[in-house]
Amino acid sequence: MLPSFSKVIAEKNANQPPAHGTQVAHGVGDSPLHIPKIETRDLNFFYGQRQALFNITMSVPQRNVTALIGPSGCGKSTFLRTLNRMNDIVDGARVEGTVLLEGIDIYNPNVDVVALRKRVGMVFQKSNPFPKSVFDNVAYGPRIGGLTDRRKLMEIVESCLKRAALWEEVSHRLKDSALALSGGQQQRLCIARALATDPEVLLMDEPASALDPASTARVEDLIFELRRNYTIVIVTHNMQQAARVSEYTAFFFQGKLIEIDKTDQIFTKPKEKETEDYITGRFG
């Protein structure tokens, strides 16, 4: 139905190994979802008086990539930041409803936000390495966790840089300032840094939007690779990217979740008119 994406999706399916042993749980609409890692129920979000999210009920499947798409200002970032409570630091912000991480309400007053954020990592649109060495950037998370053993730290740094596909490029300059890396390298460093706290979920807010095509391709490959071990939620404005890297896609519009489904489905036979209009570029 939407021929422009069928090629991308066909290519992806050709590369993708068969579903990796996850059971089928309850789904949204007709389409079955995998085991949910995160579920939101009737989530409303307010910036002061202004409501930015309306009754979002959706689940994020475990060990998969879920893409959030939608026009600018529709609340994708806001939604993403409710999942690790980064919105707590916004003055006057207020949340209603529930967000469950493996069944536990993360807005319960007894939840330790610091522990939550160690389990739900985040990569930002603008790469934000600390003005420290490459090594110290990646070692930051383990260090605040109390790890001081230099050998252990080195092991973690190496394995995270490898998983972030950056090791080859920086192994000989771990002591150099992270700010001396290229934009694409900095973003992969931020991914490595997020991996070092050993999270289960990775939230990525337009992680490749500031990168050149080659770096973008590397980050996309990386995300596709990481989905085997992590639950990933990625915001993107790039439809091709959403089609390439994600298993599920959620379409947001004006603070509401219009539709969430298998990515193939969304990009070939969306159920809602708004989704189709957006994907085909008729607005937004």
């Binding site: 980064m86 610091v114 954020r117 990592g121 934000n128 600390f130 003005p131 998370g141 605040i144 840094r193």
Partner: protein
Amino acid sequence: MSSEFSPSTSRPSLYRRWTLSTLKEQSIRVLLFACALVSVATTIGIIGILVVETGLFFSQVSVGAFFGDTVWAPQSSDEPRFGIWPLACGTFLVAGVAGLIGLPMGLLAALYLSEYASERSRSILKPILEVLAGIPSIVFGYFGLVFVTPYVLQPIFMNGLGIDVGPFNVLSAGIVVGIMIIPTISSLSEDVLRSVPQGLREAGLALGSTKFDVSVRIILPAALSGIIAAFLLALSRAIGETMAVTIAAGSQPDLTLNVFRPVETMTAYIVLISLGEAAEGSIEKRSLYVVAMSLFLITLAMNIVARFILRRYRNEYQ
């Protein structure tokens, strides 16, 4: 019809016409320039006088004696001596104590304001700090003399520990100058801390840092050079501070490191001589200028270094 709006007649001339309003514009410009010139000229004049008088001073007292002697006794009738060290030592001792008190307090206040305080408490605390900055230094001086020494230092050190604390002493002066520079340090450091990009805070929090982790491991190291600059600026203010130290530290040019004893600082000496009856052209009067020159050079150097560091720091994050 069309000729009426022909471009050639409706376009304004490019040439300047001398009307009343252009004349007004010009005279305002000249006036403002003159005002700017006055302050520049004053500064040049002051520096000129300092240089000339310093030259005259050194025609009577050798540079070697000035930097080599350890006694400052310009008013001694038989053999006046002009070793700068007692004054320099008194100055740095007071500034040092002020730094030990003002720097940590100012920095902690800045850290609180920029990292912890809500908009509401910021809007209450900042004006209070600004009021503190606006208190005349003479008030602080008396505060040191009539409150800090008799009600804080003497009970603790004299009655408690048996250390002799005179009515005039370095510690009380250092404490009041330290309190006095807290607003300077906190407002300069707060600017510096706030200019650390928000992205770094978010990155830190998203990695599971507490606010304290973020402040200590990310914000402070990132802002370090800027904070050093803020310290230097505040210290140079402490060194140049006049009234507070004249009153609380006394006027006894001793070469000492004992903070319980009175000293004489450079600024205090300048006040003393300006108020005294030393004749114009006398060596005593000239010694005032040479002390002023030294003070000027010290604070100028600190300011230049601080501004240089600050500028580099700002460039780092832009």
